[in-house]
Each structure stands twice: as C-alpha cells, then as structure tokens.
C-alpha cells in the first residue's frame, strides 16, 4: 500500500498542475493525502480549494489544520487512508462475488465478519508513506512541528504488525532544475536521527505538481517488487472475506 502525504501552506505556482500530478499518482496505485497548515488563515479560498482538489484527484483525504494539530492529523489521516484503501479493495471483491453489493448492504452478522478481516488487513498489510513537505519561505517557522509529526507518525507505524516504511522529501530544491529533494530514503525507524531537514535553502517558488511527479517516479522505480505484493494481498482478501 502506497501513500503520499503532502504538507503545504500555499498554492502551487510553477510547473504542471498538482491536481493532474495527483491523478497520475492515483493511476499508479498511490493515494495522495493533503494537509494544509493554516495558522493565520493565510491560505485563502483558492489555496484551500486546491488542497481539496489534489486529494480528490489522488483518491485521498484533505484537511486544513493548525500547526499544533499537525502530529495528530498526520497519524490519523495515514491510518484512515489505510482503512479506506482496504475498504475499496474489499468492496471490489464483494462486487465481483455478490454482484452489486456494498459492505453496508450486508447484514450485520456478515458485515461483522468482513470488518474483522478488514481490521486484520489494516494491521498487517505492508505500507509505504512518502511525506512531501512544502519548504517554501512561509513554512520555515512550521518545520519543527512538521518534524515532530514525522517522528510521531513513525512511532504509530512501528506499532503495526505489517512492515511500514516512510521516506521524506521537500520541495523546491536548492538548484533551479530540482523539483524536489529526497531527505530520507525508505526507513522503518528514526533512531539516532538528529534532524530530518538539516539546512534548507528556502526559495520563493512552490512547484507542487512537479514535486508530486518526482515522488511518483521514486515509487514506480520499485514497481516490479510491489506488483508482486499487491496480487498477494488480493489473494488474502479473496480467500478470507467472503
């Protein structure tokens, strides 16, 4: 299961549309969640509309929060998206077997059994979360909270039974042609880590779309391996759920 979690506080202003980029991610099987950090309501109507649109196109969730709510939101959103992804997979499977049925249409007894299996999958499925952090100048005072949220997310993921990895990116890069920078490669722990963002050069542009595309590319490099994992998960659902 793959997720991108975008944390931003403004509108994209360079390169391809982030909504299109998110739709690309979705078609690669990656959900895109978006958190808008709005402390003084600086995001504006256009910015918040963009945030919700990106998440819709990416099949994920979106929320506008204050900096102090960041850690809890990141943790909850990631969990909710795992549940949702499994739900969609199970729904598909149910439709396949029972025709036009949703989980809600099952009798309480049957639903109870299906949900039990879904909870099990929520806990045991493999998960990769790529955090994509907007590091434009206005985000600078919020980066400490972003780091805290990342540590907190790692703590929650470590409690899962399934293998859980995170990677961290920020955008824009220092050089002009760089859309985003990989700060941290896939990892299952943050032990001994001093700082995720050591020294950032904050520049004025916000190339959200191109940055999302770079992360999608990062994911698809290891596609051969994960394609195998996905068929394995379908198998589990098919055997147990119905």
């Amino acid at each position: 299961m793959k997720q991108i979690l975008l944390i931003t506080d403004g509108c994209s202003n360079v390169g391809m549309s982030p909504v299109v980029a998110a739709a690309h991610a979705k078609s690669e099987g990656i959900s895109v969640n978006v958190i808008g950090v709005v402390d003084q309501g600086e995001l504006g109507e256009y910015g918040s509309a963009e945030i919700h649109e990106i998440a819709r196109a990416g099949g994920g969730l979106s929320r506008l929060v204050q900096t102090k709510e960041l850690a809890q939101t990141v943790q909850m959103m990631t969990r909710k998206t795992v549940v949702q992804t499994i739900q969609i997979a199970v729904q598909k499977e149910l439709q396949h077997v029972l025709g036009n049925h949703s989980i809600e249409a099952l009798s309480p007894e049957k639903r109870s059994e299906v949900v039990r299996v879904m909870d099990e999958l929520t806990e045991t499925s493999e998960l990769q979360v790529a955090l994509l952090i907007d590091a434009s100048a206005s985000m600078r005072p919020k980066l400490a909270s972003v780091e805290e949220a990342i540590y907190d997310l790692m703590l929650s993921l470590q409690a899962r039974e399934g293998k859980s990895e995170i990677a961290v990116f920020h955008f824009p890069g220092a050089k002009h042609q760089e859309d985003c920078v990989n700060d941290l490669n896939w990892t299952t722990h943050l032990k001994g880590m001093q700082s995720i963002f050591p020294k950032l050069h904050m520049s004025g542009t916000t190339p959200t779309g191109p940055a999302i595309m770079s992360v999608v590319e990062f994911f698809t490099k290891q596609k051969a391996k994960s394609a195998h994992d996905l068929t394995e998960m379908d198998g589990i659902i098919g055997d147990n759920a119905i």
Binding site: I103, S112, V115, D152, A159
Partner: protein, 312 residues
C-alpha cells in the same frame, strides 16, 4: 464521507431497525464520540444508550470489540451490547447503530465535586479493576480519558466508547495525545496493559491539576516531554502524595497487568492515611460539634454549681 451533523433526529422521533425491526424513541442527545453520536432512547419503558455512526465500518469495528468482550463474559451483570442494526433516514441515507445499557451517572470531576474527594481512591480502584478485567480477556481499552468514564451511584464505574479497544499486541486504534505514552516519549503505541495504566496515571494528574498538565503540553518542546515532567506535577498535588510510588511504577510500565496494579492500589487505599482529606469540615459536623461542646459546658457548669452547693 457522510456526516452526522444534519441527522434528522429530534426528541420524540422514532428510529426503526432495518434488519430486526426494533423501534426506539429518541429522548435526548447524550454525547458525541470519535465515531458517532450517542442518544438516550426508550423502548418498552426501558432506557438505552444508542450510538449511531457516520461510518458503518468504523462502528462495526467497535461493535466487534464489544462482542468479543461479551463472549468472554466481561460485561458486568447484564450485557453491555444490546442490539445492532441499521436504520434508514427520511432522506434515504442509511446509518448503522447499536444500543447499549444506559447508565445514569456523571463524569469524575463532577462526581468528586458533589460527593467529596474522599471518593477518589475508590473510583480509581474501580477503574483499575475494570481495566484488569479487559486485560485478562486479552484486550486494552486504549482511549482512557475523563470523557470516557461515567460514575454512577456509590462510585460504580462504567467505561464508555470502546472505539479505542484494541487486542493486546496490535497497534492502539484510537488515543488522545495527552494520555498517550508515545506523546510523552515513554513507550510504543503497541497495545499492552501498561499502555492503559500509563493513561490511567495521566488521568489522575488531569483530575487534580488539569491546568498544570495543559501548561506542560503547550510549554514543553516535544523532546522534553517525559515521565519526570509528569512526576513533577504529581509531586505538587497533595491528594496524590500517598500514591506517588504507585504512579511512578505505572508511568514506567512496571505492573504486569491491570489486576496487579489494582491490587497495589487497594493496599494503599485501605491504609488509613490514604483517605483524601476534604478541604473543610462539613457544616453539619461543625453544628454537631458546637452543640455537643455547648451541652458539655452546660453539664459541666451545672455539675460545678452542684458541687459548689454540696461543698457548702
């Protein structure tokens, strides 16, 4: 995602189960949890609490936990979970609900306010015993906090909102930051009995020093949140002085399970000095003392007079 904010449920409206056909009359709104709204309802002259969820799957997951606990005979006298069904609203939308035993009670701060702080050790013990039962069945409560505990008459404890209930060994399903040991850099979010006991210890701090606790969460930078900080608040609370050692053990996860923790608490609570002294002597006691002092004086003076008379 569906929302519950515009749910057309007012006092007097009747809710009919889609699968089993049971009818419930809405009396009032009791509260709102993470997964849904809880209403007081009536059916055949009985009261129930009815929880209706925005998300059928979240609610089902909670119901499954309750069922698993019911199978292990954990619901005290009678079953906590009564009925599980769906209902169709006039607007055609479907919602899941379940009904549970309704317990009339108050939250802990209100109960202590009205009945006196000397009840605290017993309430705490009853909460710990309840947690102990869950742990023995292989579950933890997860989201233990003031809002999820109801105190009925004579300190009877009822845990409500099982949305956080998690099987031991899995990741804690739902928690609240200030009660979470991960938030205090003091452990994982894997469900074990020590997780609940940490939350319980924080709950004790929250009861007696809510402002100091809130202050600590806003002042401390994340890396500095620690058991030492929590203990420094504990040390400023006279009502917890007797339980300091116990709380330190709970914060450090040194009890094997809720039952052991409850037993240790009971030992402390039953020692006489454990009884939390209320701040002031009740008025009826003052009146009694005055009356008895006065009568003592009268008796004494009469005796003196008589003595004087005799001596003459």
């Amino acid at each position: 995602m569906t929302t519950l904010s515009k749910l057309p449920l007012k006092k007097g409206s009747v809710l009919v189960g889609k699968w089993k056909g049971q009818q419930y009359r809405i009396e009032s709104l009791l509260g709102e949890g993470a997964n849904g709204k809880v209403f007081l309802v009536s059916k055949d002259w009985n009261w129930y609490a009815l929880k209706i969820g925005a998300d059928a799957i979240d609610l089902q997951s909670e119901i499954n936990a309750l069922k698993a606990l019911a199978e292990r005979n954990l619901s005290q006298n009678d079953n906590y979970l009564k009925d599980v069904d769906d209902c169709i609203m006039p607007d055609g939308k479907e919602y899941s609900f379940y009904t549970m035993r309704y317990v009339k009670g108050q939250d802990i701060p209100t109960y202590l306010e009205q009945n006196g702080q000397e009840w605290f050790p017993l309430l705490a013990l009853n909460i710990l015993r309840r947690l102990g039962q869950l742990h023995q069945a292989g579950w933890i409560f997860g989201d233990l906090k003031v809002e999820n505990i109801i105190i009925a008459e004579y300190g009877h404890v009822e845990l409500i909102d099982y949305g956080g209930a998690t099987k031991i060994g899995k990741s804690v399903k739902q928690f609240t930051e200030i009660y979470d040991r991960g938030y205090w850099n003091s452990g994982t979010r894997c469900a074990d009995s020590a997780y609940d006991l940490f939350s319980f210890a924080t709950l004790c701090v929250q009861l007696f020093a809510p402002r100091k606790l809130a202050q600590a969460t806003s002042d401390l930078i994340p890396q500095n949140r620690s058991i030492e900080e929590l203990m420094s608040i504990v040390k400023s609370i006279p009502q917890l002085a007797h339980y300091e050692g116990w709380l330190l053990k709970a914060f450090h996860g040194q009890f094997r399970h809720g039952e052991e923790a409850a037993e240790a608490w009971r030992m402390l609570a039953h020692r006489r000095k454990a009884i939390v002294k209320s701040n002031k002597t009740p008025r009826w006691l003052k009146v009694l003392i005055t009356v008895s002092l006065l009568s003592l004086c009268t008796v004494a003076s009469i005796a003196l007079l008589e003595l004087g008379g005799l001596l003459k």
